[in-house]
Structure formats: C-alpha cells, structure tokens
C-alpha cells in the first residue's frame, strides 16, 4: 500500500508519454520503423499498465469495455472501407492511387488511413483480451 503512492504517481506521469510515443510510432512509420501494429501494442500496454496499478474497475471507467468492443470491428471497417472507397472511385479494391488526384498523394493517404485502422483494432483487441483474462477470477 505504501509503495502504491509512488507507483500511482509514476504511472500517471508515464502514461501520457507512452501514449505520445505510440502516436509518434504511428505517424513516423512512414519514415522510420513502426506503424499501426507496433503503435497499437504500445498504446494498449500503456492502458494495461494503468489497469494493473489502479485496478480493473478504475480502468474500465477510464476505457469502458463497451467502447473497446465496438472499436475492434471499427478498425477493420476503416481498413476495408478504404478499400471499397477506392473501388467506388474507379480503381481496384485497395487501390489508393484513386483516392486523390495525385496518385502518390492518394497512396500516402491510403496507407495513413489503413494504418489508423490497424492501430484501432490492435490496441482495442489487446485491451479487450486483457479485460477478458483479468475479469476472470482464479479458477475452481
């Protein structure tokens, strides 16, 4: 319990930086290593750390389970939606060149949106899996 104070404060201090780092990894993926998947894992790890220190109920208030559940399909929906959208714009499925007038620009946009979809699904799935495991008491 005494240690708790330190842990709580540190966690609160660290959490914004972890999320910031996740965002950096997400957006810097075009130029350096990183991308939606890695960023999603880091962000989820940040939230899970919060949950470990402050307890499951506090985390669920912070990130409600219902929202997490809805976010999992949403990420895939964004991804596949980009595919369909490029199809409606006259290209093939997932052909980002047709998203903008300039094909290269379209590609950049496409990859960006797709990575966003990956990020959403990955981070929310990780949190959901954490909820599922943690919500289960010790067996028997």
């Amino acid at each position: 319990m005494r240690l708790d104070v330190i842990l709580r404060v540190t966690t609160k201090l660290i959490l914004p930086f972890m999320l910031l780092f996740a965002v950096y990894v997400q957006f810097h993926g075009d130029y350096g290593p990183g991308g939606g998947f890695q960023a999603g894992t880091i962000a989820a790890a940040g939230f899970i750390l919060y949950g470990l220190i402050f307890g499951l109920p506090a985390m669920m208030r912070f990130v409600p389970a219902a929202i997490v559940e809805a976010l999992i399909p949403l990420g895939v929906l964004i991804f596949a939606g980009v595919g369909v959208y490029s199809m409606l714009n006259g290209g093939n499925f997932l052909d980002y060149s047709h998203l903008e007038h300039d094909p290269v620009h379209g590609q950049e946009w496409g990859v960006f949106l797709v990575e966003l979809g990956v990020f959403i699904t990955v981070s929310s799935t990780m949190i959901a899996i954490f909820y599922a495991f943690a919500g289960r008491g010790r067996g028997e």
Binding site: A70, P73, V76, L77, M87, N92, F93, L94, Y96
Partner: protein
C-alpha cells in the same frame, strides 16, 4: 461493379461479420449472416458463369501487378469450390436460427454469427486467392474462427477438441509457411502462377523438394488425411450443430482445393507424379483411410462421431481420385468434393435437428425416432444411401468415376477395394437406420417432435440435391471434368 466481384466475394462476408459484431443482438446478427451468405452465393454463381463463358478471371488487388501485389484468380475449379462453400453457408443460414438459439447462450449468439461469417470469409479467401502467403493469412482467419466455433459446443470436451485442433492446425499452417518460405527463396515470388512458371527452371533441386514435402504435410493436416486426422472426429462431434454442418461440409474441402492447387498448378503433375513416389504413398494412405476410419466408424455409439469418422473415410475417396491423377480420376475426386459436401451437410443437419429434441446423438437415444420425426429421419436415410453409393444418388456417381478411373490405369484391385469398402458404409449407416426405424422409441425419443420447417427445408434441399445430382450428373460432373482438364493441362 461486375469486375470487382472476386474481391466482393470475400469482402461481403467480412463486412457481414463486422456488422454482426457491432449489432450484438441475436436477431439482427442472424439477419446479417443470412443476407451476407446469400449474397456471397449469388456472387459465386455469377463468377462461375463468368468463368465458364469468359475463361479465367484475374483481379489485381490494389491495382498492382501480380509480381508486386496480390492477385485474385478464379478458374473453374476455384469457382466450383466458391459455389460449394457459399452455397452450404447460405442453405445453413435458416437452419442455424433455431439450432443456434437452443445451443448457444443468448449473449453470445451475435458473436457466434460473427465467427461463422469469419470462417466463411477465410474459406472463400483461400479458394479465390492466387497468392501463397495470402492463402496462409486467410487460412488462419478460417482456422481461428473454427477453433472458437468448436469450443462453443455444449459438452466440455468441445474445449479439449478445439485445443487439439488448434495445436495440430497451427502445426499444419506453420509447415505450410515453411514450405512457402522455401519456394519463395528459390523463386523470388509468392504468386502461385509465377512460382509454377519459375519452378520449371529449377525443378528437383533440394529446396523445392523440401517445400513440396512441407506444404503437402501441412495441408494434409488441415484436410485430415488418414494418419493426420486425429483432430477431426472430436472436433466435429462436440461442436455446435450449425458449426458441424458448415465445417464438415466445407473446411476440409477447401484444404483439398489448396492441396490440388499445389500438386497440379504449382509443382505440376508431371513433376509430382512422374518423378516422385507421391502417388503410391497417397493411394496407400487413402485406402487406409477408407478402411481404417470406416471400420472405426462402425463401433461408434455417438452418431455424430460416427459420421465424423465417416468423413475421414470419405476424404480417402477424394484423395484417391487425386492420386490416380488421370482425367477420370481427378474428375471423380473433384465431383466427390461436391457430393460429399452435400451428403454430410444433409446428415449433420438431420443430427442437428435431433439434437434440438433429444440433446445427445447417442445411438440408443435415437432409437425409434423414425416414428416421431419421420421427415428428418427420411432425410437421414436418403443422405445415408448417398454415403453408401447406391445408384441414383450422388455417391454412386463419385464411385463410378473412381472405379472407371482405376480400370483405365489397369488397377482392377483398386476397383475391387472401392466396391468392398462400400460394405463398411452399409454396416454403419445400417446400424443407424435400424435403430431409428425398426426399434421401439427410447425414453427421450418418446417426447420428441418433428423438427421445425426452418430446419426441414434446408435439410431436404441438400438431401434432394444428393438425389437430383445423382440422377442428372451433367451439371456437377461436367464442371468437375472441366476443372480436371484445366488442372491437368496446366503447364508444370
């Protein structure tokens, strides 16, 4: 929009799965599932029509050339598998409504349908893709969702069955990836067609043979080829009825598709069958499957398990046709893929209807059900006759092709074995029929009532198809023959 059909074939069930997951209520999710699977069926039938009239369809996802990106490729064989898979899914949709409601807790039904649609997505994705690694990804989509579907069975043994399937399925998939890795390192491409072309230049070097070995073993695990079938009986026996219907009729069939695709299109039949002892090995294993699994099926008291073992035996017939590797033999194998899908779909639907009434499919509990559920039990008998191969049913067509094929290559003993093996089928189907029609109703059977229409119609649709295509086989066998000709004619 018509030129986008190949990708829509896979995307429609995927979107369905997403919407079903978002809806989270049983009713809407069932509607979404039904709509998505019927649209998928319509698309696959259209694709089949396009292929038959206009030849092979190639669709470049993302607009990239196949050497850069991923290609979807539909030929007669893959279109046939697409129609089978989406057809079974569509026909099972009305059946699922009551069955799932009685077997799955209400708060999980929406997710059950999500998984069901994901399994459909994965299976269609494997059958349509022209890319080795993409096939792996969709293989995993279908596998993971099947594990979850199986684990939802009412019996706790369903959990263990799902776990065992997960272990063996993942080993199989990893073997497959290893094999693809070898192919990729030697050819520098992942496109199945391009691999086939480039392999012609490097044939019979050691990495290629290793790739062949690993891909064959990996897919054999998935298609439950005889010694690698251990996961199948329990998985089918303890899964929820709807999952059993769908998976038994489609999952192994798609693995067979991939198997044939690799042997004939990628490695080339000349290379595989002329220079390596694969033919002999495959024939021995197939015959062992037919007799071994058939014999085990006789001694099962759980009817669901009995028919699961029967599936292993029936897969033996299919691989036998593939191993003969002549036009007639391959046609027999492919036509049996379809026929067995129809038969097993009808059989497991009948058992699903029984499960609604008596909860377990123990043969003692089925006794006398013929009086209480005459329509369901008649469907069971019709499909059972198809399993035996009685003239006038689809089973006869498949066996006819196989027997003719064995005579053509001069293996009369193989023909004798095929006929003899039917006796095993007679015994176990006979056991069920005897119990159902000629015995006094058991205690539980007395309270049973006829299945609801939503189950009877799909069941009889499939049972009727086994008779219809048994009498007029031009459609199925004709398409199968075209597929076989295309596979054999493809350049090694």
């Amino acid at each position: 929009m018509l030129q986008h059909l190949p990708v829509l074939q896979v995307m429609v069930p995927l979107f369905g799965a997403l919407v079903a997951a978002l809806s989270r209520r049983p009713g809407p999710s069932w509607l979404v599932m039904t709509a998505a699977s019927w649209i998928a069926l319509a698309i696959s039938v259209t694709l089949m029509h396009q292929v038959l009239t206009g030849g092979v369809i190639s669709y470049h996802i993302g607009g990239w050339d196949p050497s850069l990106g991923i290609e979807y490729r539909v030929d007669v064989f893959s279109a046939l598998i697409l129609v089978l898979v989406s057809g079974i899914a569509a026909v099972s949709a009305p059946f699922a409504h009551r069955s799932v409601a009685s077997e799955i807790p209400e708060d999980r039904i929406a997710w059950f349908y999500t998984m069901y649609l994901l399994a459909l997505t994965g299976l269609l994705g494997i059958a349509i893709t022209g890319d080795a690694f993409n096939a792996f990804v969709f293989l995993e989509v279908s596998s993971l969702s099947s594990y979850a579907l199986i684990a939802l069975g009412r019996d706790r043994r369903a959990l263990v069955a799902a776990y065992q399937y997960l272990i063996l399925g993942t080993i199989g998939a990893t073997f497959y990836v290893i094999g693809v890795g070898f192919l990729y390192v030697t050819t520098g491409t992942l496109n199945l067609g391009l691999i086939g072309e480039r392999l012609a230049a490097v044939e019979s070097t050691r990495p290629v043979l290793t790739a062949l070995a690993f891909i064959t073993v990996g897919i054999s695990l998935k298609l439950a080829l005889f010694p690698l079938h251990v996961w199948l009986p329990n998985a089918y026996a303890y899964a929820p009825s709807t999952a059993t219907v769908f998976l038994a009729a489609t999952a192994t069939k798609v693995a067979i598709y991939l198997f044939v695709r690799y042997l004939f299109t990628v490695f080339g039949d000349r290379f595989v069958f002329a220079e390596l002892p694969i033919q002999q090995v495959l024939i021995v294993l197939s015959v062992a499957a037919i007799f071994g699994a058939g014999a085990v099926a006789i001694f099962q008291s759980d009817v669901k398990r009995m028919f699961a073992y029967s599936s292993v035996a029936q897969i033996g017939y299919i691989t036998l046709g593939i191993a003969i590797a002549t036009q007639t033999g391959l046609t027999g194998g492919i036509v049996h893929v379809i026929n067995h899908g129809l038969i097993k779909g009808a059989l497991f639907m009948a058992l699903g209807a029984v499960a609604l009434q008596v909860r377990h499919c123990h043969i003692e509990e089925l006794a006398g059900l013929g009086q209480k559920m005459p329509l369901t039990m008649s469907a069971l008998v019709v499909a059972g006759l198809g399993l035996i191969g009685v003239p006038g049913t689809v089973g006869f067509i498949s066996k006819w092709y196989l027997i003719v094929a064995s005579f053509e290559v001069g293996w009369w003993w193989l023909a004798v074995l095929i006929v003899a093996s039917s006796l095993l089928t007679v015994v176990y189907v006979g056991r069920v029929v005897e119990a159902v029609w000629f015995r006094e109703p058991s205690e539980v059977a007395r309270g049973a009532r006829e299945a609801p229409l939503s189950m009877l119609i799909p069941m009889w649709l499939l049972a009727g198809a086994t008779v219809f295509f048994g009498i007029d086989a031009n459609l199925t066998a004709g398409i199968a023959a075209k597929a076989a000709a295309a596979l054999l004619g493809s350049p090694g």
